[in-house]
Symmetry: C2
Subunit: 439 residues, 2 copies
C-alpha cells in the first residue's frame, strides 16, 4: 500500500509550514483525526485533522465543498463513531481528499489555502475531546516482558502463565472513566491489605502507577455470533492512540482474585486525543515479533500468513515524568522509559480475531488497549511496578527526588512516534495526566 499511496509520499510537503518541521508529529503524511471545539466560540464539537500546529476543521471543509462523500458527511458529528463505522475505502477516500487539501501539490490546496483563516484552528486555541463515544473498553496483556516481570514478582518459579503463548489475554475494563489527555487524575481511595496485616484498610492508594499502552479504536463492527477472521481483522481497526491505564497496585492486589482487576483500574484511563489511522501507520508495520524457538504456533483462529508477514507496529513509545518540584524549579520533564509496540506478542489483528472468536460483537468506537508495552531491558519497562521492581528499587530523578510509585502533583505523559528510512516520521501527540490528591 505504501509505495502506491500518494498520501504516504515522503516528498509531499504541506503549505501549513509547521507541518514540515523535522520533529513535527503531524506532517501531511500523518493526518490523524480528533474531535475539537474552538475555545473562543459557541460552535459544536466536530471532527478535525491535525496538521503541524493547526487543526483543519473537517465540518467546515465539507461545507466549503473541499471534501465530500459519506466519510466527509460523518465529520460534522460530535464524535468519530459514524466515521469509524464506515469501510476502509471510505476512510482512504477522505484521507486522499484531506491530503489534497493540505499538500503543496494537492489538487484542492489552492481552494483550501484561500479559506485557511476560516478552516484552520491553532491546536492551542482548541479544546480536544474524547474522539469517540466508547461502547466497551477491552484491555489486553500482550507484552511477554511485562507478563514475565509481573509474574516473576508473584510466582518466581513459573512467572509466565501456561496460557500466555496461546491466548491474547484480556479483560473487560471500564468505558465510563476513559478521559482525554489533560484531564486531572484523582488518586483513588480503596481497600488494600498491608503485608502481615490481619485485615484490609480503606484509604488513598499508596501504590499508584501508570501503564504505557497502545490503544486502538474499532471501525466497522461485527454482528453478535459472527466472528471476524484474523485475515480480515485489520479492516476493522480505524486507528490508534496512546493509552495510560492508571493502576492502583495495592487495590488491584487485594481485590484481584478470583475475577481480575476492577477498582484498581476503573478510577481513570487517559487516552491521547488524536487517532492515528491504520492507513497512516501502514509504512511502519513489521517486522513480526520473533517467537522463541519452541514457542507454539498460533491456533488456527489466530493464524494468518499475511498478517504474520506484515508483522507488528514499529512505534517507539516513551514515558515522561515531571514532578511538582520539577515544575517549581522550572525543570523539564524527564524520560523514564522507551519501548516499542513491536514487542507485543500478538498483533492487533490477532487481538480482534480472538476477541470476536466466541461471537462477541465489537461496535464502532470500541476501544482496546495493548496492555503495558514493556521491552526486554529495564530502560524499556512501561510501568513503575516493573521499573522499581514493586517499589524495591526506587528511580532517582535528575534533581535527586526518588520515586517508588507516583506521588501527588506528578504529571505523567506518554509520547510516541514512528520513524523509518524512506518514510516521513509521524507522531501521536501526548497522553498526559496530573495526579491530584485523594478526596
Amino acid at each position: 500500500m505504501s509505495a502506491l499511496n500518494p498520501t504516504h509520499d515522503p516528498k509531499r510537503r504541506s503549505w501549513v509550514e509547521t507541518a514540515n518541521a523535522r520533529e513535527a508529529a503531524f506532517p501531511v503524511q500523518n493526518l490523524p483525526y480528533g474531535v475539537f471545539r474552538r475555545k473562543s466560540g459557541p460552535e459544536a464539537a466536530r471532527a478535525g485533522t491535525a496538521i503541524g500546529d493547526q487543526i483543519l476543521d473537517l465540518a467546515g471543509a465539507r461545507r466549503a465543498g473541499l471534501i465530500d462523500g459519506r466519510a466527509a458527511d460523518a465529520c460534522s458529528e460530535p464524535t468519530l463513531n459514524r466515521l469509524m463505522a464506515l469501510a476502509p475505502a471510505d476512510w482512504t477516500r477522505l484521507r486522499q481528499q484531506i491530503s489534497d487539501c493540505l499538500a503543496t501539490d494537492g489538487e484542492r490546496a489552492d481552494d483550501c489555502r484561500r479559506r485557511a483563516a476560516e478552516l484552520l484552528v491553532p491546536i492551542a486555541d482548541a479544546t480536544l475531546e474524547l474522539p469517540a463515544e466508547i461502547g466497551d473498553f477491552t484491555d489486553f496483556f500482550t507484552s511477554i516482558y511485562h507478563a514475565t516481570n509481573t509474574g516473576t514478582m508473584m510466582r518466581p518459579d513459573s512467572p509466565l502463565m501456561p496460557n500466555f503463548k496461546y491466548v491474547p489475554t484480556a479483560y473487560h475494563s471500564r468505558a465510563s472513566s476513559v478521559v482525554v489527555s489533560g484531564a486531572p487524575v484523582r488518586r483513588p481511595n480503596g481497600q488494600a491489605i498491608d503485608p502481615g496485616a490481619a485485615a484490609p484498610r480503606f484509604g488513598p492508594s499508596r501504590l499508584l502507577d501508570y501503564e504505557c499502552e497502545l490503544g486502538f479504536f474499532i471501525g466497522a463492527g461485527n454482528r453478535l455470533g459472527e466472528p471476524i477472521p484474523v485475515a480480515r481483522a485489520t479492516e476493522h481497526i480505524f486507528g490508534f492512540c496512546l493509552l495510560n491505564d492508571w493502576s492502583a497496585r495495592d487495590i488491584q492486589g487485594w481485590e484481584g482474585q478470583p475475577l481480575g482487576p476492577f477498582l484498581g483500574k476503573s478510577f481513570s484511563t487517559t487516552i491521547s486525543p488524536w487517532v492515528v489511522t491504520t492507513e497512516a501507520l501502514a509504512p511502519f508495520r513489521g517486522p513480526a515479533f520473533v517467537r522463541a524457538a519452541g514457542d507454539p504456533a498460533p491456533l488456527a483462529h489466530l493464524a494468518s500468513a499475511d498478517d504474520a508477514a506484515r508483522g507488528g507496529l514499529d512505534i517507539v513509545m516513551e514515558v515522561w515524568l515531571q514532578t511538582a518540584r520539577m515544575r517549581q524549579e522550572g525543570a523539564a520533564a524527564v524520560r523514564l522509559s522507551q519501548s516499542n509496540a513491536n514487542d507485543c506478542y500478538w498483533t492487533v489483528a490477532q487481538m480482534v480475531a480472538h476477541h470476536t472468536s466466541n461471537g462477541c460483537n465489537l461496535r464502532p468506537g470500541d476501544l482496546c488497549g495493548s496492555g503495558t508495552v514493556s521491552g526486554k531491558d529495564k530502560g524499556s519497562y512501561g510501568c513503575m511496578l516493573e521499573m522499581t521492581w514493586r517499589g524495591t528499587q526506587p528511580v532517582t530523578l535528575p534533581n535527586g527526588e526518588q520515586r517508588n510509585f507516583l506521588e501527588d502533583g506528578d504529571e505523567l505523559a506518554l509520547r510516541a512516534h514512528c520513524a523509518r528510512a524512506g518514510a516521513v516520521s509521524i507522531g501521536f501527540g501526548e497522553c498526559r495526566g496530573l495526579v491530584e490528591p485523594a478526596r
Copy 2:
C-alpha cells in the same frame, strides 16, 4: 415507605382484569417499565408499563394528558435512559400517576379506560427490546454459597478467598452482547485445554452453563471522582431485572488467569425486559443477610446502619429448563432450582458504594449483576457448575434425560417473584434463551 405509599396498597385492584389474578406477575402494585414496539405497526419503540397481560403505552398516555412531568416526558424515548437519569421523586410521581390510571379507584382511571383501545397493547402483540442503552455492565460475585462452592472445586483447603468478606467482588463485563429475553444464544467457540493435554484446542465449548442472577439498573449517576456514599446509594438504583450470565466454563477456566473472565462470558448475557422498580420492591426488603459469628464488620465505606436494618431483597428466583426432546414430547419446562436474592452477602447499596468508592463514575442505564444467586442447599444452586458439581453428578430430568451442562436445543428460563404477608405478590416475568449450535 410501604405503609404510606398508596401504590403499594394491597387493596388496590386494576380495571385490567388479568392484573388481579392471584398468580399475576404484573398487578397494579408492580408497574414495571419496559421498552416495546407493536409487532403490527411502524411505530417507534417507546416506554410502557406492564399490567396483567397488557402494556400501557406511556408515550400515548402522555400525549393523552394522563401522565405529565419530566418523567412522563422521558417515556417517548426508545430507551429508559432519560427516565433513569431522573431523581427518585420524579419516579415516584410517575408511578403514582400510572397507578391512578390503572387502579379501579384511581383518579385517572375513567379517562384511561375510555382510551384503553388506543393505550393498551397485549404483551403478546409486542416486541420487547432492551430497556436501556447500557454504557457499562458490571458483574458482582456476592453469593457466599456460590463463592464457597466454586472455590471448593479449585481450592478444597481454602475455598473462600480471603477478600470475600471485605470486598463486594466484581469484574467489568461486556455491554455490547447483552441481549433481551427470547434472543437465541449461540454456543461459543473458544480455546480450552483438556485434562492432561499438553496444548489447548479451539472449538465449541463443551461446558456451557447458565448463571441465575439479579440485575439492576443505575438511575442518576455520579461524576468521575465523586463516590456515592452507601447511605445514599439506593437513590441511585432505578430498578431490577433477571440476568442470565451464560458461561462457557472450559473457555473461562483456560483464559481466566491472571485477568479474570473474558470470552467465557462475553458471547451473550440475557436480561428480562421488565424493570421492576426499587419502589415496587420496597415492601420486600429484608431481613439482612445473617453474617456468621466472627465475620468482620463492613469497612466504613460499606457501613450504613439504615441500609443494614432495611436488609436485602426477598426475591425468590427460579431456574427452568426445557430440552429439545421435552418440546417434541410436549413436556413442560422443569424447575432446576430455587434460590433467594436475600442470600447475597452484600446489599445493592453496598455494591454501588463500593463500585464508586475509587471515584469510578456510574451512568444512567449502567447494568450491574449480583453474581450467581445460590443458597445453602443443592436445590438452591444457581448454575449447573454447582448443581452437577462440575459435571460429576449429572441432573436427571423427568423424561430420563441427563445433563452435566447445557446441550444444543436446551431452553433456559429464569423467573422470579416476591411474596410476603400483607403485600400483593409481584413477579419479574421471564428471562429466556434457547441454545443454538456453535457456528
